[in-house]
């Protein structure tokens, strides 16, 4: 059957690393049970000054940015019509599928009144001026879109070629939505902070927040694609995708460079020089963040470095770290509720976040082993 070069990897599921991830996940389940029985305060360090912690910032805000691989690749493959990147599309979508689905799940256990969740869908409660309202609807819609985008893979596996053909006819609409929705909500995740005013350090507060969040989310999307494909091709000894990747990298590099330069220009234009050089945590985190953004930018732009698989892998890691740091800084470090409040996640809180990530990796492994996701060895 040479109709598709996408192949399930096959192989044993219950490997040792898999069991370790399963254990981490079980620990998270234990703490989540505690949370549902005794309330959010029984497992987290959330408080009246810091009502949002790592479950929101890492699991949802960073988690969905990690899930932007599908979005970033769709932008390239279908909107800029770069068909040569097509082999990276399915694994990227799969990453997105789990990034978003689990981010959505994390929302449920983080919500303080989760049993009212469906109110978001009731028109008489709708509050369109709320950025949160837009984010919630967009993310829900996008999770649906991701599952539809990914469904040909299931249909292929089940041998339902007819259904797959039918779906294909409308796929372009789904693909367009798959670009529009993340553009909207990834920028809006930045807009969430626009209402914070002087509660946020001027190093992060700017009317450009939506654009900064969008640019970094796209960059992180490419970062995860590079990471995923390097890891997978090595672990499963697949034909290397290095050639495609090294073509992709300058695009990502220039995107990052644009972000860093524009951000600095914006800060200077508004005269926020003093806080940059203040001797405090904000200034330190700001420069650390800039540094971690600049390092991968250099690797990805330099023609000599970006052909080296190790450097590329490092660049992808740094890029994801930079985007994550930016989000943690903007939502937690830059934010000062006053009144002496402080926040650092508790161990159980961290374990839940780690467990969610473990679940994500486990599901990813199951899917690539059982479903035709990856461009495999030549068809038999």
């Amino acid at each position: 059957m040479a109709q598709s070069t996408h192949q399930p990897l096959g192989g044993k599921l219950l490997t040792k690393p898999f069991m370790l991830f399963a254990l981490l996940f079980l620990i998270a389940v234990y703490f989540l049970a505690t949370r549902f029985m005794f309330g959010l305060g029984s497992v987290t360090h959330l408080n009246g000054g810091y009502p949002w912690g790592i479950w929101v910032v890492v699991d949802v805000i960073i988690g969905t940015a990690f899930g932007c691989g599908g979005f970033a690749m769709a932008l390239l493959v279908y909107i800029f019509n770069k068909g040569e990147y097509h082999p990276l599309m399915r694994p990227a979508l799969l990453g997105g599928l789990f990034g978003y689905t689990l981010g959505g799940m994390a929302v449920i256990f983080d919500l303080g009144r989760y049993w009212n969740f469906y109110n978001l869908l009731l028109p008489w409660y709708a509050q369109p001026s709320s950025v949160m309202f837009e984010v919630a609807l967009c993310v829900m819609a996008y999770i649906l879109v991701l599952w539809i985008e990914f469904s040909p893979t299931f249909l292929e596996r089940l041998g339902l070629t007819n259904a797959k053909q039918k779906l294909k006819r409308f796929m372009y609409i789904i693909i367009a939505l798959g670009v529009l929705l993340p553009t909207m909500h990834q920028s809006s995740l930045g807009s969430l902070l626009l209402v914070m005013g002087s509660q946020l350090s001027p190093l992060w507060f700017t009317a450009w927040l939506p654009l900064w969040f969008l640019l970094t989310a796209i960059a992180m999307g490419y970062g995860i694609v590079i990471l995923e494909s390097t890891l997978i091709t090595n672990a499963f000894k697949l034909p290397s995708e290095q050639r495609i990747l090294s073509k992709l990298s300058p695009i990502v590099g220039w995107l990052l460079a644009a972000f860093v330069v524009l951000r600095l220009i914006d800060l200077l234009a508004h005269g926020h020089v003093a806080p940059m050089f203040a001797a405090d945590l904000n200034a330190f985190m700001f420069w650390l963040e800039i540094l971690v953004f600049v390092m991968p930018t250099i690797i990805l732009i330099s023609p000599a470095r970006r052909t080296d698989q190790r450097q590329m892998f490092l660049a992808a890691l740094l890029l994801l770290a930079a985007g994550s740091l930016y989000r943690i800084n903007a939502f937690l470090v830059a934010y000062d509720p006053g009144n002496g409040w402080s926040y650092f996640p508790s161990a159980p809180e961290l374990m839940v976040t780690i467990g969610v990530i473990a679940l994500e990796i486990m599901l990813y492994l199951v899917f690539v082993k059982k479903l035709p996701v990856l461009h495999g060895t030549r068809p038999a």
């Binding site: 029984s42 009246g48 068909g83 303080g112 009144r113 009212n116 709320s130 209402v195 450009w208 409040w341």
Partner: protein, 328 residues
């Protein structure tokens, strides 16, 4: 890249640039601040009159059926029903905090003095909490301007907690089925013709209930007197016939806090100690909601921009998928 694709992408880039260009001056993106409702009700809290008796805190707990709070480190010497919550919380809708400096000798002096400050919702004119709530669980009355909360709508996202510039709404983290707690200005008592419990019990008139216009006048009148002048301070509801509390006019800070802060509030604060020392944050005259809603409305007005973008994306995706099919 073919021509039409290039044209669309250039067009889209142009549109995005056009949409974000005004960001240059953040001011241009703001919508107007909202206006004080016609029959706005509020409170004048005069820190110099407050004796820190916390009768208002106890009355609030009774009126709103919230439990007494005792932090662990104070529990030992504080046996019984004395409430000693240190700030508003999921179980404390109002509280009195103390400012102290040096020898704490004189009341209402910044240096070597002490002062009281009351904490609760300021019933903002253009409230962030109402603007950010995704399910309309925070509501501002169109007539009285009182900001209430509807727990049946609330999903517990805590964006209001994060967004309120005064740190007012609080989620009950220690409850299995926690709620958002926030002063609703005893709306249930007002419906029965009564006044908020804190203003009702206050022995000195430090917490005074009334129409915002009248309270503003009252505040200005106090400021216009000379320190030391005898003055009849009204108690309970401004304009009622309760006996007044006669005392000397103190040395006030000249600024009335709450008039313009973050687009204005329905609470007025008069103090002897600078406001920021008492934990009242320095805030701009523009409401915070005016910027976030301004940006949001610019980008999403009538959903025109997103729909136009979707149209372009559909067109491009269609061509690409067709082309890929032909190649396959």
């Amino acid at each position: 890249m073919d021509k039409s694709r290039r044209r669309f992408i250039q067009g889209a880039a142009g549109a995005i640039a056009g949409a974000v260009a005004p960001v240059e001056s953040t001011q241009a993106l703001r919508r107007e601040n909202k206006q004080l409702p016609p029959n706005a009700l509020g409170m004048l809290y005069d820190s110099t009159l407050c004796i820190g008796c916390r009768a208002c805190v106890t009355a609030c707990k009774e009126a709103n059926d919230v439990p007494v709070e005792q932090p662990a480190h104070l529990r030992e010497w504080n046996v019984g029903v004395w409430d000693s919550g240190e700030d508003i919380s999921g179980k404390t809708l109002n509280t009195i905090r103390v400012y102290t400096d040096g020898t704490k000798e004189r009341k209402d002096r910044e240096e070597n003095g002490y002062a009281f400050i009351k904490r609760h919702c300021l019933h903002c004119v253009d409230p962030s909490c109402v603007s950010v709530c995704p399910v309309s669980a925070m509501l501002k009355d169109a007539d009285t301007g009182i900001v209430t909360h509807n727990p049946d709508a609330c999903i517990g996202c805590r964006y209001c907690v994060y967004g309120c510039p005064f740190g007012v709404p609080q989620y009950q983290f220690d409850e299995t089925f926690g709620k958002i707690a926030k002063c609703e200005f005893c709306e249930h008592l007002q419906k029965k013709g009564e006044i908020p419990a804190c203003c009702d019990v206050c022995p000195t008139g430090a917490s005074l209930f009334g129409r915002v216009d009248d309270l503003q006048q009252e505040a200005e009148q106090r400021l216009s007197k000379q320190p030391g002048d005898r003055y009849e301070f009204p108690r309970g509801r401004l304009g009622d016939d309760r006996p007044t509390h006669e005392a000397a006019i103190p040395e006030y800070q000249s600024h009335v806090y709450g008039v313009k802060e973050a687009g204005g509030t329905q609470i007025r604060y008069l103090t002897g100690v600078p406001h920021q020392k008492l934990g009242l944050p320095k805030l701009p005259d523009e409401s915070y909601a005016s910027l976030s809603e301004g940006v949001q409305h610019t980008l999403y007005k009538g959903m025109i921009a997103p729909l136009a973008l979707l149209g372009g994306l559909i067109y491009l995706a269609r061509r690409s998928t067709k082309q890929h099919e032909d190649e396959e």
